[in-house]
């Protein structure tokens, strides 16, 4: 299980943000994601998918991330929903 290549890592982080596992980085503070935050997000994604929750971007996890899927997020926080609805009205 080779460690993910750097671009796989950044793509993995994008994937986690896109599907609701990572909150988008805070635009005001430009704060980056913390390592712990990313590991927590990876574990949550692994549990949701029924994978072993290693917290690492292991091969099973990367393989699932490249599986065709529905483009809606898996975790929909109420704020996202409100934001979505607001965007819709505009």
């Amino acid at each position: 299980h080779l460690a993910p290549m750097p671009d796989q890592y950044s793509r993995g982080v994008d994937w986690l943000s896109r599907y609701g596992y990572l909150p988008p980085p805070d635009p005001r503070t430009g704060q980056l994601q913390s390592k712990e935050g990313i590991e927590t997000a990876i574990k949550e994604m692994q549990r949701f998918a029924g994978l072993k929750d290693t917290g690492k971007l292991d091969s099973d996890t990367l393989k699932l991330m490249s599986t065709p899927r529905c483009s809606l997020p898996d975790i929909i926080g109420s704020k996202d929903l409100l934001k979505k609805r607001r965007r819709k009205r505009r």
Binding site: F48, P68, R69, C70, D74, L81, R85, K88
Partner: protein, 437 residues
């Protein structure tokens, strides 16, 4: 399951199709309509929701659920990403304009009933779940899992939602209470019949006198997803996890296992590959790989793929038995008094040091009709009308008892003890047969 707290305030919903897939294999508009009708039916079957196709007039733009095929940026703020990746999305219920709208990525090869592309029916049922207020589910099985799972129905007309999804939609819209579920307004008269799917025809009533389940002599036995299938001639019996026979009458193989040669009259061996749940059939010097009950394209393939060479240097021409031993996950293939062992976790490869002689398995027939293993890891060797149980992980346990397949598996009456002439007998009326007996 998960809901998003949004639902339609009405139970009669209209839908319309704004355009059709533009890529090969160019599903015909009528087929797309049929697929959408049955995808909606999956949800209306278990609730009081009614879905009505909007009449082909200006009403189409006012339908609650507008279905379209779009690519890349399609002015809803959620661009698609070309073939693969994201397949589709839908908007949750609400009062806003795009509420309920469902978009499919037009750069996918939308197909139905085969594995060559992306199954439109499976994705449509999923997306309509969103259009009704469901979010993704982490349960398996569930149509609301976010990842594409391939085709979900051999015949979409009889597709039934997994329990998790049924509970989810009923938590929003309640259970169906009308006595008889109004099936979609006979779509077949307005629309052509759904794409022809190889669905099992009503099996001709096999003549039970020909196939008496109590006679034994099965060609193959397989544990498939926890159910045990006994194959004999052109027929098979199916035993559920509860060990009860689905029917005393056998079913015709050709009506259920789609893709074997016409006139198939003997299966040599069958087993379910644990790594991907595919089902392998061996007949003569060929083998087939099945996904669920349909043979995958590219099969049959020659048995020589397996690279089995006997001790005397000959290529194996047919298989007698095949099973995966639960205690080590290895695949065992028996032929001509010898057996080979394979690892199939990733790619199939033959373990070194094989073949070995079947006589290594003490106390059981060296040329079994077939073998299965159950969850606890015990191996069941079947021969004629008997079977032997080899405890998990053992090969030379000293006492292996012979049991009756007819009684234990086929629910046949106990045979009346007979005193056979010239047979060693214990007490009056008993006979003890050796293994070969």
């Amino acid at each position: 399951y998960a809901t998003v707290g949004l639902r339609w305030k009405k139970s009669d919903l209209t839908w319309s199709i704004q355009n059709y897939p533009s890529l090969y294999p160019f599903l015909k508009p009528d087929d797309v309509k049929s697929i959408m009708i049955y995808a909606f039916k999956a949800w209306s079957d278990v609730t009081n929701l009614n879905f009505q196709a909007a009449p082909p007039t200006s009403e189409q733009d006012r339908a609650d659920i507008k279905i379209s095929f779009a690519r890349s940026l399609h002015d809803d703020g959620y661009p698609f990403d070309g073939k693969g990746g994201t397949l589709a999305h839908a908007f949750f219920p609400g009062e806003y304009e795009v509420a309920g709208d469902t978009h499919f990525d037009d750069e996918e090869s939308w197909t139905y009933g085969d594995d060559s592309g992306t199954d439109l029916f499976a994705v449509a049922v999923h997306e309509f779940g969103h259009a009704l207020g469901l979010s993704h589910s982490s349960t398996s099985p569930s149509i609301m899992r976010p990842y594409y799972q391939g085709a979900v129905a051999v015949d979409i007309r009889s597709y039934i939602l997994p329990d998790d999804d049924r509970y989810a939609i009923q938590s929003l819209y309640g259970k169906k209470i009308s006595p008889s579920a109004p099936s979609p307004k006979n779509p077949t008269s307005q629309l052509p019949k759904p794409p022809n799917t190889p669905h099992p025809k009503v099996p001709l009533k096999p003549d039970p006198s020909i196939q008496n389940r109590c006679e034994g002599g099965f060609d193959a036995v397989a544990n498939i997803r926890g159910e045990v299938f006994f194959f004999k001639g052109p027929y098979f019996w199916r035993i559920q996890r509860s060990r009860s026979l689905v029917s005393l009458q056998p079913a015709l193989i050709k009506n259920f296992w789609i893709g074997l040669p016409p006139g198939t009259n003997k299966i040599d061996a069958v087993y379910e590959r644990k790594s991907d749940s595919r089902i392998i059939f061996f007949i003569g010097s060929q083998y087939w790989v099945f996904k669920d009950t349909v043979a995958m394209s590219g099969y049959p393939r020659p048995l020589s793929d397996w690279g089995m060479i006997s001790h005397d240097g000959k290529e194996v021409k047919s298989v007698e038995a095949a099973f995966i031993w639960a205690h080590n996950g290895k695949t065992y293939i028996f032929s001509g008094g010898e057996f080979w062992r394979f690892s199939e976790a990733e790619q199939r490869h033959q373990d070194a040091g094989y073949p070995r002689f079947s006589s290594l398995w003490k106390g059981v027939p060296s040329n079994p009709d077939d073998i299965i293993t159950e969850e606890e890891g015990d191996a069941y060797f079947f021969k004629n009308n008997s079977y032997w149980v080899v405890k998990s992980g053992e090969m030379d346990q000293d006492s292996v008892t012979r049991r009756s397949t007819a009684v234990d598996w086929m629910r046949c009456p106990e045979p009346t003890p007979t005193t056979l002439p010239g047979n060693p007998r214990g007490r009056e009326g008993e006979c003890n047969c050796g293994i070969s007996g």
